[in-house]
């Protein structure tokens, strides 16, 4: 049995990030039972900064359940004090600790037994090996305690419930709704602390849980904390761009048609070049270039002092709209 444990540990230790996003090894052989039951296999920190006591389930380990229960009791007793007691672990005070039992096919019976332990602190998962190109890899199968109690033959849930931090649940729900509406084939899947958003295998983005909250990351863009509805909309905007890019590759390049069309009556080559440059930019950049020059303003019949007030009307309207955000529906305002 010790050799089996050694081999399993050699596999698990460098792959904690694969088992769960953000899971980080703090120290091996963490003994929390005064030597009575033997040490847990490691102390780790999860993406939220909470302590995780990791146990390996090895076939024939008759004390596994006892050690798991001991670890749960330990966390119940002193879990909140661990942050202060192990400062080098950089645990987040108040973050709820848990016990994670990792097994293999050989220890299925032990894991099934553990799933009858009714504690929200306990989680079990199974590593399922397979070979790809001659290389051994592992799939992580999370096991649901609730399902086991009801139906032992139903072994596992494909992925765990996403551990969305309190205060970010509304943002996560909003983002899920957006993904659903974006395309029925957009998949949101992953594990406890990470969800990948894909469309037909193309990665559109990822949402992960870190100590600072819910983080959205999309290819080619900086990570963003999804703290408010505005952040979610911004992140969804990036997802949409990625979706459009993979759905219609090659579409775009909007500049060509414009250059042809503009040729007919441009005032000068400089103006044409300016228009061409603007046309190849984004809509926002063309809006920024819409400010009237003094010559244009004067030609329209305005006073010569300049176009200071030119955009005032439009700005006023935008302000008017913004101010109306909280007005009731239907409005009773005067007509346009």
């Amino acid at each position: 049995m010790p050799q089996v444990r050694e081999r399993l540990w050699a596999i698990v230790a460098p792959r904690l990030q694969v088992v769960e996003h953000g899971l980080e090894l703090i120290d091996e052989t963490f003994d929390c039972s005064n030597g009575q039951l033997g040490p847990v296999d490691c102390l780790a920190r999860d993406a939220l900064g909470a302590p995780v006591l990791v146990l390996l389930a090895v076939e024939g380990d008759m004390l596994l359940t006892a050690r798991a229960l001991g670890a749960i009791e330990f966390l119940d007793r002193v879990g909140n004090a661990l942050a202060a007691a192990i400062p080098e672990a950089r645990l987040v005070p108040g973050a709820r600790g848990r016990v994670l039992v990792i097994g293999t096919e050989a220890s299925t019976a032990l894991l099934h037994g553990l799933r009858r332990v009714n504690s929200s602190r306990l989680q079990t998962c199974m590593l399922e090996p397979f070979r790809l190109g001659g290389e051994e890899r592992f799939a992580v199968r999370w096991m649901s305690a609730q399902a086991a109690a009801e139906d032992p033959s139903q072994t596992a849930a494909a992925s765990e419930e996403f551990a969305v931090p309190e205060g970010h649940k509304a943002c996560w729900s909003a983002l899920q709704r957006i993904c659903e509406r974006l395309d029925p084939e957009v998949l949101v899947e992953g594990e406890r602390f990470a969800r990948r958003i894909t469309w037909r295998g193309h990665r559109l983005g990822e949402v992960v849980v870190r100590a600072e909250g819910l983080i959205g990351s999309a290819p080619g863009a900086e990570d963003v904390v999804l703290a408010e509805a505005r952040d979610v909309r911004g992140f969804a905007d990036r997802l949409l761009r990625g979706y459009l890019a993979v759905r219609e590759p090659g579409a775009g390049s909007p500049g060509a048609a414009a250059i042809v069309r503009e040729g007919h009556s441009s005032p000068s080559s400089a103006k044409r070049a300016e228009a061409r440059a603007a046309s190849q930019g984004s809509i926002r950049s063309t809006l920024a270039a819409a400010r009237l020059s003094p010559e244009e303003y004067s030609a329209l019949g305005g006073p010569d002092e300049g176009p200071a007030a030119v955009s005032a009307g439009a700005a006023d309207d935008v302000a008017r709209i913004v101010a109306a955000q909280e007005s009731p529906w239907p409005p009773t305002a005067a007509t346009d």
Binding site: I283, T286, Y297, S311, G313, D317, R320, P328, P330, D336
Partner: protein
């Protein structure tokens, strides 16, 4: 099937059934892409091609016209609603979409209290069919929002949803009128660029003129833009509209390299500004007044300029595709 003919089938039916492929001789392949109008494929399109039959063309899509202006209060909503009523009376199926997501008022001019607005549509709470409100004067209306997020908060996803809604509306109407919000924003500009014709509504005063020019200048810089038409509203003396147009067209030509098309002027009418909520639109209550007549003239000119406001067909990108093209440039 009864052998004695008691099944009620006639001989031609029997012959047809005898000639039909037997089970096992035909492989039926199902694929989700049934859109025959897609240029690059689609099951139905390939089916028609293999059968040697004429391939079906893209479904007809309404002419989409955006009424826009740089400045608020120029009379966009007034002209949009009355134009819709006139077009409906001329026998066209018309829908108005109030794209003013912040301060909508087209429903007030139509005298209806819609249950759902574009806000519900963009939130995914209702379908476009549910959001489409019938008005007493004929045209359908998708009411704008109020208390909705401001224009600046509408992101590309919302605009994509709007594009899908417009696509559906365009498929079951002849003319789609978009009452665009005042001001320049990516959202309002995208809406205008998704249309085939942009009707810029301005007034002779300098503030409205400069804001209209700012909008035209923005449109002129886009890689694909709608045809730009100009209406000069609230004209205090006959001919002032054309003079205003001449000035604006000259500046647009010289500085923005853009041609605009004049479709008429609408006189200043105290009866319009003094109208109260609940009163029928002017073209209904006073169809013979100068303003109503001017609106009719403007519409005739618009029809001439657009080739009869005929629904679009063929391989031309539809309103959803045009909007999607703009969203890629956000």
């Amino acid at each position: 099937m009864a052998a004695d003919g008691g099944d009620g089938l006639t001989e031609p039916h029997r012959a047809a059934l005898r000639g039909a492929p037997r089970p096992g001789s035909t492989r039926i392949l199902l694929e989700p892409n049934l859109d025959a109008s897609k240029p690059t494929g689609g099951f139905l399109r390939r089916f028609f091609r293999l059968a040697g039959a004429a391939e079906p063309s893209r479904a007809r899509e309404a002419t989409v016209i955006a009424f826009a202006s740089g400045k608020g209060g120029t009379g966009k909503s007034f002209l949009t609603t009355n134009a819709a009523i006139c077009l409906h009376r001329a026998g066209r199926r018309v829908a108005v979409v109030d794209c003013d997501f912040g301060l909508a008022n087209a429903h007030l001019l139509f005298g209806v209290t819609p249950r759902y607005s574009v806000q519900h549509l963009l939130d995914g709470a209702v379908s476009v069919q549910q959001a489409l409100t019938a008005t007493p004067y004929g045209p359908g209306l998708v009411a704008g929002g109020s208390g909705v997020s401001s224009l600046a908060e509408l992101d590309a996803r919302h605009m994509q949803l709007l594009g899908r809604a417009l696509h559906w509306l365009a498929g079951c109407h002849d003319v789609l009128l978009l009452d665009c919000p005042a001001g320049l924003s990516p959202q309002s500009l995208t809406t205008v660029l998704a249309s085939q014709h942009a009707v810029v509504v301005t007034n002779p005063e300098i503030a409205a003129l400069t804001d209209a020019y700012a909008l035209i200048k923005c449109l002129a810089r886009q890689p694909s833009r709608p045809q730009i038409h100009l209406i000069v509203n609230r004209v205090t003396q006959a001919g002032l509209g054309e003079a205003t147009f001449e000035r604006l067209a000259d500046v647009s030509r010289r500085f923005a390299g853009c041609e605009i098309h004049y479709i008429g002027e609408v006189p200043e009418d105290a009866a319009v500004s003094q109208r109260r909520l609940g009163q029928p639109p002017l073209t209904v209550s006073h169809p013979q007044c100068a303003t109503s007549q001017a609106i009719q003239t403007v519409l005739r000119n618009l029809e001439c300029a657009t080739g009869g406001l005929l629904p679009m067909a063929g391989e031309t990108p539809g309103v959803e595709a045009r909007m999607a093209a703009q969203l890629r440039r956000w």
